[in-house]
């Protein structure tokens, strides 16, 4: 991962330090909480973790987790993979950061599920929180994945006619697509704003034993992130405006991937 900096430049070092710092704080508090399970009677478990009121250590834990996640996302977005387009502008960078966060969260989901299966199946002590936690995390993974797919221009499209058009018609088609997408975003926000707002202000919960505020957080997040996607779409159109028409073969073919597989097979 020691390749050139994409956008952080000289900030790379400090961000890395911040990431390590936040991870260290999170890890230490985590160890302390685990230890607490054996020492204290009123130990802080997953139930208390999402109810920080009156528990300063939980607040610190939550903020340091958030800090670790954001710092890691920023740090990791500073180097791009072979399959990725170079970011071009503020919103591209933002999409890259959120994509890194989503990638970390995907791995976290796997770990949460593994923990749940082991504790349910081997120790017969199913958790109350694992399913809901993965649901909560996955909602963000999906939304960020959509934003990332937009930045990477990897959408399911039918290029048969598009590729035959002259460049000015392609531009016109792109503008129409963009306007219609903005129309959808506008209508979505128009129709969903009041609902999302009340749920956010109430921090509406899921109505289960662990009772995380999934509707209260995910509903507003949907509106926010889809607006970000729409902005990303505008930014894409501006960035691609003067580019030459590309020929689209099958978009899934990915030379780097094939090269990687080839190397694996030759080992």
């Amino acid at each position: 991962m020691e390749n050139e900096s994409v956008w952080l430049g000289s900030m790379r070092g400090p961000v890395k330090m911040a990431m390590i710092g936040f991870c260290a704080i999170t890890g230490l508090i985590y160890l302390w909480l685990i230890l607490g399970q054996f020492i204290f009677d009123d130990a802080i478990g997953m139930h208390e973790m999402i109810r920080p009121a009156g528990r300063p250590i939980v607040s610190v834990m939550l903020y340091s987790m958030l800090g670790a996640l954001v710092a890691a996302g920023v740090y990791l977005s500073d180097s791009i993979g072979a399959i990725e387009q170079r970011p071009d502008g503020v919103f591209d960078t933002l999409s890259l950061v959120t994509s890194r966060i989503a990638m970390i969260l995907t791995a976290v989901t796997v770990l949460v599920m593994f923990y749940e299966v082991v504790s349910r199946y081997v120790f017969s002590r199913p958790t109350l929180w694992a399913n809901e936690l993965s649901l909560w995390i996955a909602a963000f993974v999906f939304l960020f994945a959509g934003q990332y797919a937009m930045q990477q221009r990897s959408h399911i499209r039918i290029y048969v006619i598009y590729d035959m058009m002259p460049r000015w018609m392609q531009k016109a088609a792109d503008v129409i697509s963009l306007l219609l997408l903005l129309g959808f975003t506008f209508s979505l926000v128009w129709g969903g704003y009041a609902d999302a707002k009340t749920r956010l202000l109430r921090m509406e919960t899921f109505g289960t034993a662990w009772d995380p505020p999934i509707p209260g957080i995910v509903k507003p997040a949907i509106l926010l992130i889809i607006v970000l996607v729409a902005i990303q779409a505008v930014s894409n159109l501006i960035a691609d405006w003067n580019k030459l028409p590309e020929h689209h073969g099958h978009d899934d073919i990915d030379e780097t991937e094939i090269e990687n597989i080839r190397r694996t097979l030759e080992n």
Binding site: L135, F142, A145, G191, I253, T264
Partner: protein, 542 residues
Amino acid sequence: MEFLELFAWMKVSDVATLSIVLLLGMFALLAIGMPLGFASAFLAVAVLVMKFGPELLYGNFGKGPLSVLGQAVYRQMTNYVLISVPLFIFMASLLERSGIARDMYSSLNRWLSGVRGGIAIVTSVMAVIMAAMSGIIGGEVVLLGLIALPQMLRLGYNQNLAIGTICASGSLGTMIPPSIVLIFYGLVTETSIKALFTASFLPGFMLASFFILYIIIRTNLNPSMAPLPEVDPSEPQGREKFLRFVGFVSRFTLWITGALLIRAVFFTITGDNKVVEGVDPIALGMVSDIPYIIGAGVVAAVLIQFVVGRERTAEGWEMGKGLIAPTIVIGVVLGSIYMGITGITEAAGMGVVAVFTIGLIRREMTFDIVWDSLMRTLKSTGTIIWVTIGAAALAAAYTLAGGPTYVANMIVASELPTMGVILVMMVIFLIMGMFMDWVGIVLLIMPVFLPIVLKLPVEEIGFLGGLEPKHVAIWFGVVFCMNMQVSFLSPPFGPAAFYLKSVAPPQISLTAIFRGFLPFIALQLLALSVLLIYPPIVTMFL
């Protein structure tokens, strides 16, 4: 809001006009190259405008029928089963980067190299095993193309046979559980995914066996299509080889029974497997199972000791080692689902853990590989998720406008013969499959087609043998999946051809690849017609 009254003409009173505008709009937007997800999302808005009129929708900020859009998206975002999609993709991309496939190929090849058409058969068998591990095509065709194609061409196999075998078998991933197509079908139609997996097992194997039979028959009728490799004198032949295979299987059985025994004993000690009424027994983990497990182990031990002999067993173990890792992965994923340990989503998570662990043991996993796999996962997830969001919004809006009921009533009232309606649907699937990705078809077409199928008289479905009413949705899902098998191969955009083209030697043209597909497409259509003529083949294990 006088401004909005200017647009009052947008309101359309009857569903028929609305449906036609929707259909034409979809064609127009897709033609200008608008991403499928956004086109459907916008059309969802358009449908609502036509149904309720702009005044009702935009008269009041923050309220009104437009809120169904947000609701539909929220429902998809918090759908537990949908989480299995990124996890299966993650698992498949980790699998691609491990050497598991290569080792499996060399093991299978050593067992079957003496058979006429051996490498083609190995390719098919390997494709089935890989299909049972993950269920994402693309990577599978690329892997098989890189491993098996050069070898078949070097041995002088018929080029068309080689190409067809690789792509047709490589597409089996969607037919054999776990299959991502069936997951989406289950999500859209609210059918039990586990039942869909069970139901697709037999048709999937039937199709695979069609391929293998075709290879055997063709190559035996015309041996020049598949020349045999030169015999390696150091390799055991004939009966000796078979004995080594028995040795391998016995030794593997011994390991499995050992593990199961430890598990059953563990449960007995912890008291988890007490027979409690109303609680499902733990599969192969009850006290009453222990004698059977021990029995199987003893049989295996006797085979090793007295029939095969220890030396041959050790050789067989060396030859077959490559099959162990895939078996474990399949055992973890399908075993979790079918032994009632976890649901689909957690099984996918366990699959990731299993592949990762095996990769660690094989010393292949690095941070870069995991990170790269995560990147690919996120990209594919994002691509699929937009179609899901858009289609969910459109389906919600169209249902609110009464569309699916209207179409279903129209079809049922027209008194077409039942199988005629189904055949027309098959033709529509096949044609759409030529141009569109399966995700789009399942998400956009299924909400309209399945209600029609469910309204058709159930006793008229199929020619031999009937279906129970509760199994119709499952049957139709498997039939749909079989249609999508064809769509992977059908010209002009069959994805399998493009995957293979990207790894094939340059002198093999796209036309040549599609020509190689023809007999295999015929086999797929044959399998499809079996499902239509004899529906009970789907519900046999339900």
